[in-house]
């Protein structure tokens, strides 16, 4: 194993407890996150970016009601110094208007989401798999591009009430096959690499890329579509921006604040943030505040339900945290959905396609961005394999096209849900993952409006 060994719960919680002793236990909290990633990235005929990357952050926060003073370091040895500096900075904060956050119910104990199969998925094995993908692609007149990754994850949190530690593994595979002006993409991630059928991803991407050659331009218009799981999962990542967060609730904006209980989507649609259902996405039991992750229903059979909260927004809203504290790079802290799941239905993707007389199959979106959070409008382009559907069967490939649609509109016009979930990472969200099945959607608009 190239990566260094896991530090282990004793060392990490010990460091955090040292930090808390310096920070003063009143209102102090600390966490450490460690990711030791090995990434085998390849393109064309070579592995061009093989990386063994270590990321460590130990952060001490002191919040006595006037706001949070946080000090973070990559050096575990500096835990005490971080605690002292956080305490010093907390004293410099202006007097607060509110009480310190109520952290009753913080998680304690040791948790294990470690899979030896993933830990043993070494650089040599990944390199050989990458070589197989590239060789098969070349033999087919195509090129393969992608990444095979293994990440060892540790997180520990501590408060005066106790500490918690989790160790976990993360395996992921992405593959893009380009052929004849077309392309096909596959991706999946899970705690256990045994849940990712890498060889099947390669085989199916090669087959789909062969079918996606020489795509024809697509006339703008409104189509019945089947959206692949990766396209649907991409849409889920907008739920935070659409108002399913405590921050939006506090501002009186978005779906939960303005449309609570309203039926905004098809009764076939149930979306939740759930990091505790083993086997889906990247389960993890608590957040960086040490609070338990809870199941947060967002859309329940099409009706708007709840939002995700951290301690600060829960305090403002007079409710409880759901365990979704998050600090994004270069942004203010904000509770963030991190383990989104659209509940699977009972249809295979082939069955969904059979239900379309004249339409499209769209495997994936690209560069999607929110246009209007209140209206749930987003824009993006289709990317990689997309095909015409005629009389319930896939026909010729079609080229990338722009769309501007409403997320809730799409979910409202859904009349079929696939049975197979595929997981993908949520960009810029620590341990963030969206898991979704295929959907059949009526009246999807393509082209500039």
């Amino acid at each position: 194993m190239i990566g260094s060994k896991p530090r282990g719960g004793d060392e990490l919680t010990g460091r955090l407890e040292e930090a808390l002793r310096e920070a003063g236990e009143d209102g102090a909290q600390a966490f450490v996150t460690i990711r030791q990633g090995e990434h085998t990235r390849f393109a064309g005929s070579r592995v061009h970016q093989p990386q063994a990357v270590e990321e460590v952050q130990l952060m001490v926060s002191v919040d006595r009601g006037g706001g949070a003073a946080r000090v973070a370091t990559s050096r575990l040895e500096d835990a005490r110094a971080a605690g002292r500096e956080a305490l010093r900075r907390a004293a410099a904060l202006p007097p607060g208007r509110s009480q310190a956050p109520n952290a009753a119910g913080a998680v304690t104990g040791t948790f294990n989401h470690w899979h030896e199969d993933t830990a043993a998925w070494d650089a040599g094995t990944r390199s050989r798999l990458a070589a197989v993908a590239m060789t098969l692609a070349e033999a087919a007149g195509a090129t393969a591009h992608g990444m095979l990754s293994r990440v060892l994850v540790e997180m520990a949190t501590a408060r005066s009430a106790g500490s918690a530690y989790v160790s976990a593994t993360e395996a992921s595979a992405t593959l893009l096959v380009r052929q004849g002006g077309g392309s096909a993409y596959r991706g999946d991630l899970a705690r256990s690499v045994d849940q990712i059928a890498v060889e099947e991803l390669v085989r199916s991407a090669l087959a789909e890329a062969a079918a996606a050659r020489d795509p024809e331009p697509l006339p703008p218009g409104t189509y019945d579509v089947v959206l692949g799981p990766l396209a649907v999962g991409d849409m889920l990542t907008f739920f935070g921006g659409m108002g399913f967060t405590g921050e939006a609730v506090a501002a009186g904006a978005g779906a939960v604040a303005r449309r609570q209980g309203e039926e905004v989507a098809s009764a076939l649609i149930t979306v939740a943030d759930d990091a505790i259902s083993l086997g889906v996405g990247l389960p993890i039991p608590f957040d960086i505040e040490g609070m338990p992750k809870v199941h947060v229903p967002m859309l329940d059979r099409g009706r708007v339900r709840g939002a995700v909260f951290d301690l600060a927004t829960a305090r403002a809203a007079g409710t409880s945290t759901t365990g979704h504290a998050h600090i994004a790079r270069e942004e203010a802290p904000c509770p963030t959905p991190a383990n989104l799941i659209l509940r699977a239905g009972s249809s295979t993707t082939a069955e969904l396609i059979q239900g379309v007389d004249d339409g499209l199959y769209i495997s994936r979106f690209h560069y999607t961005r929110m246009v209007d959070p209140e209206a749930s409008t987003f824009t993006g382009v289709t990317r990689d394999a997309a095909f015409r559907i005629r009389r319930g069967s896939l026909e010729g490939p079609v080229a990338s096209a722009r769309f501007t649609e409403e997320v809730l509109g799409i979910l409202g016009r859904t009349d079929g849900v696939g049975s197979h979930l595929v997981s993908q990472p949520i960009m810029n969200v620590w341990n963030g993952v969206a898991s979704a099945p295929s959907l059949r959607v009526r009246g999807f608009r393509l082209g500039f409006r």
Binding site: I2, S4, H39, T40, R41, F42, A43, V47, H48, P50, A52, V53, E54, E55, V56, Q57, M59, G65, G66, A68, R70, V71, A72, S74, R75, D78, A82, A92, L93, R97, A123, G124, S127, H145, T174, E247, A250, A251, A253, A312, R329, E330, E331, A332, P333, Y367, T368, R369, V371, E374, T377, T379, V381, R383, S400, R402, T404, N428, F448, R449
Partner: protein, 495 residues
Amino acid sequence: MIQTATGSPWAWVHSEDEARALAQEAVDLALHRGATYADARLVEVLEERLYAASGREPDWRLEQVVGLGVRVLLKGAWGFGSRVLGPASQGIEAALAAVEMAEAQVGPNSAYLDPLPAASGHFRTPFAVDPFAVSASAKHDLVAGLLREALANQEVTRAVAGVNAKRQRRCFASSEGSWQVQELVETGGLLQVWAALDGEVQRRSYPNSFHGNTSAAGWEYLDELRLPAELPRVIDEARALLRAPILAPGRADLVLGPAMTALQIHESCGHALELDRIFGDEAGFAGTSFIRAEERGKMRYGSEAVTVVADPTTPRARGSFAFDDEGQPARPAVLIEKGVVRDFLSSRETAQRIGRPTTAAMRADGHSFMPLCFSTHVGIQPGEGDLDALLERLGNGYYLDMDRSWSIDERRLNFQFGTEVAWEVRRGRRARLYRNASYGGVTPEFWGSVEAVAGPETLQVFGLPCGKGEPKQWGFVSHGAAPILVRGVRVGVAG
């Protein structure tokens, strides 16, 4: 050691000699293990962020990272390893990890680097006021005052004010004998106000919407931003947008303000001209480019008015430096000259494939990741005249500025951008305000329709983060942008 005082910039590694010894040890180990090339980057980062946001108490954070990243070329295979630095010899571990990652590759491998002479030197961002020396109360009073004043206004439902500062010490050693030390300092600010009425929500930002703006400068940059003085205008415009009509679909002549021009440069020039994308290295994630390497010198990318230069020697630009992250000296490079593609954002490896010198655009996020081709400081060359003169030349059309949403396809060809504000321009003068403005097009057609660029007095520098690579890493880039006049653009494309 957590050190926030401004005295010694060496927080963890106590001297340049010590830093050099750590980096050189890693390089030497890689060579001993068979590498034909190795470089090591020892990076220390100290970053402070203070946010005041409605609905929660202020959040003030200080983040420190120190680590070593080692890149090796061994039997034609690349390898990279990084470790955070502690008291143990993680630098050696980083080198070992890099070697083992390279050794794990299935051959035959054929990566190589043409040898280059060593490049050594020291660089420090010029600044007047160390942002880490500014008192806590000054920072808190600033953001708390902005938030308080914003929220005191009717219809303002949400606001965020923030300040940020970063100090990086980036040391680079290579097996070619280079030794470089750069101390990069940056300071930034952000102000965003949301107004709401009857379900309509509008946002207005200053000095830019995406992460505010950050300059390679000290706290004097915050003073120059004059956030308190700009706040009333920002609030007024957010509220006025609530009652403004929606910009209807159609074709129109436009003037894009500097912030929007910066985004247009970033998405449709910067990324499209990254040579690793052009060669397919990013095809699996960020995408490719509509430009082919062999089209250099031939491809008409825009009109005669469009000249785009990468110049990481530009003062006060977040994307500036003295050496990139494979140790190549920063230098100006014309990417697009009077509308024709002349060069690319390149690395040593990609540049040698086209027989060109690198444009020193190989950059990495801290110590942790393998460098990639990122934008540096990429800007449009200004033309003549101020904004009023450009609006006069526009005649009738719209003036759009500051991004609200942005999307472009994986070849950087088909784009759709939304803006926070749009003013109708009638006979050269700003008139009615419109909300939810958007425009879209195809990159070379858009740049080919640029009739004029405003003069140097209108030029602004925008520093922003950018994401690329798999696993994703952040690049910190900047763009010099002046207002541009574009004819016949599709507007109102987002409905």
